[in-house]
């Protein structure tokens, strides 16, 4: 209790102490007076009396010092004094302070911002119960390792497996939503009844689907996502029991999902409807693959064991059904499925940010070292005056802590801002596909990360200079003054740091170069078409006419004809799926050749007569579709070059007949061959594709491609409005230019983001590396002023001096480049997954980086070299 009281009093004693100081002085003065009085009374002379009193007291100042130590907490008081002294010192030297804080803040900013993404994606668990025990199930075929399941296969997997406690199916889709003004498309999904229970997600409001609600007999029900509830129903608590019309069917709302829930594998839908087996004729066919499945592992079963079990079942089904020939199965961790795509890029970015942070730390430490070096004399004087080593070290520590603390505040604040920019860079469309990034910001994890970085930096910056500032011999420090031997030790250490900085900069530059080149190659991949001046829009025809193919075709005609009359429009085309999006596949056989049920899988698109001309695709042989190829004529198809090469090698395919695999399927005549169009992802080889005439095989959902002579972006709103005037029941969605569509495919934007970010990091690293080199050379020149003065006095020409300085820099640059190039070849293997059309050891990139960095580094060392060459020998010698 007494201790506590005393501690509190002492803590209170930390504040300003003028009054207490005066009181102390008074008390000691009074003590001396009393003692002097006594001594005089005992017969001493006044001066002797005073001297004796002082001696007996043990000195006024030591007494006061001991008293002060007791008065407050000396450690804290020293800390306070050190901090103020540090701040004063740092403010006196704004160049040093500003640079150090800015450079370190930059490193912290970049790494904290990237870490926020890593945290949201790879660290924060997915919003399901025990997400590590969930797997996604896929069918596998030769060209498609993660393909959808057919409904009958799903039922068999669910029934036959021995590894899952639950298996549920889902299908991401779009629903035509009847709203006040007309129709619109909304993201939706169909799921089997127990889907949410398998994920372990409880609705925030109402209930999820009951067993049996996914049968054709049950009345249609729907569960809302939290976002849809907020957006479309204003968060109304009485939403349960209300109805929404989806694809023409009235659905009753039974529940609302919690706010944090997301499920990227289904496209993060707004409306979750029960999967009713009559909703889609596809569900009845074993060969029609449209579903995905999610399953929960039994206790003690590993993902590998589950995968083996699924492969076994797929093998049994393969023997049982001809439709399953060549089909395997696979189970993949759901976590991997949701975030696996962006994990490599995040790891690359985090490594990039880490390297930038490292280079920033190296840079700041060398600044601190130079500063410590120049304060060597001050330190020596202070320790000669009795400053204890601990006190002097604590001065360095305080200074480092002040710098790091300011840099951390700066870094974390700007990280907040950088995260916003990065989110903007990703774009709203991609963000919708990465719902785990929602609400990304400076959370607790990120702050802990920043604090850990700051702590490490503070330790590094405290002890690096402190350990260097105490020469074993005090006299050496005092005698050295501003020059001499210690300069050489610093030069050696500083030189090593600069080599490290340059090497890191090389690694980052090479990474950025490879990513940039991949991105360039990707955007200049042969598309087989002209993507400029194309406006695109997706369309769903009104529910009422969907059953009648004649009406579907007639409406499609009306749409194309009306749009074609718009000003600036050159031509209009229809396709069931736009290029670069992948799409459906079909199994074909060639008429007149033996067929044993093998799966000749080809891409499949229903296109209008104007499709190839509108895209500016190249006809190799035969003819395009015409308006005359309608349902009354025998079916005709056009194939691409890849299909011709694969199934008709060395023959002329035009005039040959093919058919789909069912025995009842009608033969179709090949009337033309076109150059391959990039229908699938940019970074994959084009799968052989079959084009059928839209008029012969129509679809009520299709995409419109419009070639215009004017700006295609400006056309987009007009396009939707024009189509709505034909019939308000037509739903239009996803209006975008073709260029935009290509740029925002995952293949492109993942590489674009990584190229830009790593490029930014590399540029900063280059700047920091060059600045570091400049610092070392400039310091070396300032140390060698006298030497250079002597040389020039003895007749050295400026050119000799240039050579002297640049040779020193050249060695550092060469070492940095050599180490960096070797390290970057190794580091580039980390990038392999993101590279496209470039080898990880690309000589062109390596050479460009070496040249660029070499030039920047030479420039950085030229400036101090010029200063050295312009030294006036007389001044240099006199300055001594």
């Amino acid at each position: 209790m007494r201790r506590l009281r005393a501690s509190l009093v002492r803590l209170a004693g930390l504040g300003p102490a003028t009054r207490r100081e005066r009181e102390l002085a008074d008390e000691i003065e009074s003590h001396l007076q009393l003692h002097i009085d006594d001594n005089i009374r005992a017969g001493m002379r006044p001066e002797q009396a005073r001297r004796d009193a002082l001696l007996k007291l043990g000195g006024v100042e030591p007494t006061k010092e001991a008293y002060r130590d007791r008065r407050s907490v000396p450690l804290l008081e020293n800390l306070w004094r050190d901090t103020r002294y540090a701040i004063r010192q740092l403010r006196k030297n704004p160049g040093f302070t500003g640079t150090a804080v800015l450079v370190l803040g930059l490193g912290i900013c970049a790494s904290a911002a990237i870490f926020a993404f890593v945290d949201a994606t790879l660290i924060k668990p997915l919003p399901y119960r025990d997400p590590a025990r969930l797997v996604g199930l896929f069918e596998t075929v030769q060209f498609c390792p993660r393909c959808p399941l057919s409904y009958p296969d799903y039922l068999d997997w669910k029934r036959l497996n021995k590894v899952f406690t639950a298996v549920d199916a889902f299908e991401g889709t779009g629903f035509t939503l009847r709203s006040g003004a007309g129709s619109e498309m909304a993201g939706g999904a169909r799921v089997t009844a127990a889907f949410f229970r398998t994920l372990g997600v409880a609705p925030a409001l109402g209930r999820d689907f009951r067993a049996g609600e996914d049968t054709p007999e049950a009345p249609p029900t729907v569960v809302l996502s939290y976002a849809a509830w907020q957006k479309r129903f204003a968060g109304n608590a009485h939403v349960l029991g209300q109805t929404v019309t989806l694809n023409g069917d009235v659905h009753t709302i039974v529940g609302v999902l919690p706010a944090g829930f997301h499920f990227a594998a289904a496209g993060d839908p707004e409306f979750w409807a029960a999967l009713r087996t009559n909703a889609n004729s596809c569900y009845q066919t074993r060969g029609c693959h449209s579903l995905h499945a999610v399953a929960r592992l039994r206790d003690g079963v590993s993902i590998d064991a589950a995968d083996a079990n699924i492969k076994l079942i797929a093998g049994q089904l393969e023997k049982q059904y001809t439709s399953n020939v060549g089909q395997g199965g696979s189970a993949i961790s759901l976590v991997e499925l949701e975030v696996g795509r962006i994990r490599p890029i995040l790891i690359v970015l985090l490594s990039g940010a880490g390297l930038l942070l490292l280079i920033a730390c190296v840079n700041v430490s060398s600044l601190m070292l130079v500063r410590a070096e120049s304060r060597k004399r001050e330190i020596a004087v202070r320790s000669a005056l009795g400053g204890s080593r601990a006190r002097l070290v604590s001065q360095f520590v305080t200074e480092a802590v002040v710098v790091v603390a300011s840099a951390t505040v700066l870094g974390v604040t700007s990280a907040h801002w950088l995260i916003g920019i990065l989110i903007g860079l990703i774009g709203a469309d991609q963000l919708a596909g990465m719902p785990f990034l929602q609400g990304l910001g400076l959370n607790f994890h990120v702050l802990v990360f920043a604090a850990a970085v700051a702590l490490a930096a503070a330790v590094l910056f405290s002890f690096a200079p402190a350990s260097r500032s105490f020469s074993p011999d005090l006299r050496e420090g005092l005698a050295e003054g501003g020059r001499g031997s210690a300069g050489t030790t610093w030069r050696r250490l500083g030189a090593n740091l600069v080599v490290a900085e340059l090497a890191i900069a090389v690694v980052l530059l090479v990474g950025a170069g490879l990513l940039g080149k991949s991105f360039y190659r990707l955007l200049h991949v042969d598309m087989g078409m002209r993507p400029d001046h194309l406006a695109t829009l997706q369309i769903a025809e009104p529910q009422a006419i969907r059953a009648d193919n004649t009406k579907v075709v007639a409406m499609a005609h009306e749409v194309t004809n009306t749009v074609a009359r718009l000003p600036g429009v050159e031509s209009v085309a229809i396709s069931s799926m736009l290029p670069v999006r992948g799409g459906n596949t079909m199994w074909i056989r060639v008429i007149g050749r033996p067929f044993h049920g093998e799966h000749n899988e080809v891409g499949y698109r229903q296109v209008s007569a104007g499709y190839f001309t509108t895209l500016r695709a190249k006809l190799l042989r035969g003819r395009y579709f015409t308006e005359a190829d309608d349902a009354s004529k025998p079916p005709v198809v056009i194939i691409d070059h890849a299909l011709a090469e694969k199934y008709f090698p060395g023959e002329d395919a035009v005039g040959k007949q093919i058919a789909y695999t069912p025995a009842s399927a009608k033969p179709m005549e090949i009337v033309g061959i076109v150059e391959d169009i990039k229908e699938g992802p940019l970074d994959e080889t084009t799968w052989p594709t079959l084009y059928v005439a839209f008029t012969q095989d129509p679809d009520d959902h299709f995409s419109l491609a419009v070639r215009t002579s004017k700006g295609e972006q400006a056309l987009l709103p007009t396009l939707a409005a024009t189509i709505h005037r034909i019939d308000p029941g037509i739903a239009t969605y996803d209006p975008r230019t073709m260029r935009d569509r290509i740029d925002n495919t995952p293949a492109a934007y993942l590489r674009r983001c990584s190229a830009w970010l790593v490029g930014g990091f590399a540029l900063l690293a280059l700047l920091l590396g060059a600045a570091g080199l400049y610092g070392v050379i400039a310091y070396s020149v300032s140390r060698r002023t006298r030497e250079i003065g002597v040389r020039m006095a003895l007749g050295a020409q400026p050119a000799t001096v240039y050579r002297l300085i640049l040779r020193e820099a050249g060695w550092l640059i060469a070492a940095g480049l050599a180490i960096g190039l070797v390290a970057s070849v190794a580091a580039a293997t980390l990038l392999r997954g993101l590279l496209f059309g470039v080898r990880s050891a690309d000589p062109e990139t390596l050479a460009a980086v070496a040249a660029g960095l070499g030039a920047a580094a030479l420039l950085a060392s030229y400036i101090p070299a010029r200063r050295a060459a312009s030294i006036d020998p007389v001044d240099a010698l006199r300055a001594e």
Binding site: V9, L24, S30, L34, A66
Partner: protein, 123 residues
């Protein structure tokens, strides 16, 4: 002898010394009533029969500590020969502390005395 030993080791055994000095200060103030620092120092020397040679300066941190702990209180006053001085007096808590510590000391010295006595009961 004991105290001299402690004094000569003041730097090494600051805690022991501080504790002992505090006890002496408290006892002195109890005996003499409110007293200024100089008076306390002189009194301690006299009481020790001048065996104890005190560096007066060390007294002030000890007084401050006792005051911070609430065992003594201080106020400015005027000394017998009309000098302004800071007077220290015992608080109630200080009185209790003195009683307890004096008892502890007596017990400790009594035990040690038994060990050190030539008749050596303990051996």
């Amino acid at each position: 002898m004991w105290y001299v030993l402690l004094v000569s080791n003041m730097n090494d055994k600051a805690d022991v010394w501080q504790g002992t000095l505090a006890l002496m200060v408290l006892k002195t103030i109890e005996t003499m009533g409110p007293l200024h620092g100089y008076g306390i120092a002189r009194r301690i020397e006299q009481t020790s029969g001048n065996l104890l040679s005190l560096n007066y300066g060390t007294l002030y941190p000890a007084l401050l500590k006792l005051e911070q702990e609430g065992s003594i209180a201080s106020a400015w006053g005027v000394s017998e020969n009309n000098r302004k001085a800071k007077f220290y007096k015992l608080t109630r808590q200080g009185r209790k502390q003195l009683e307890k510590e004096a008892r502890d000391w007596q017990q400790a010295t009594a035990i040690l005395a038994r060990f050190l006595s030539p008749s050596g009961d303990a051996v």
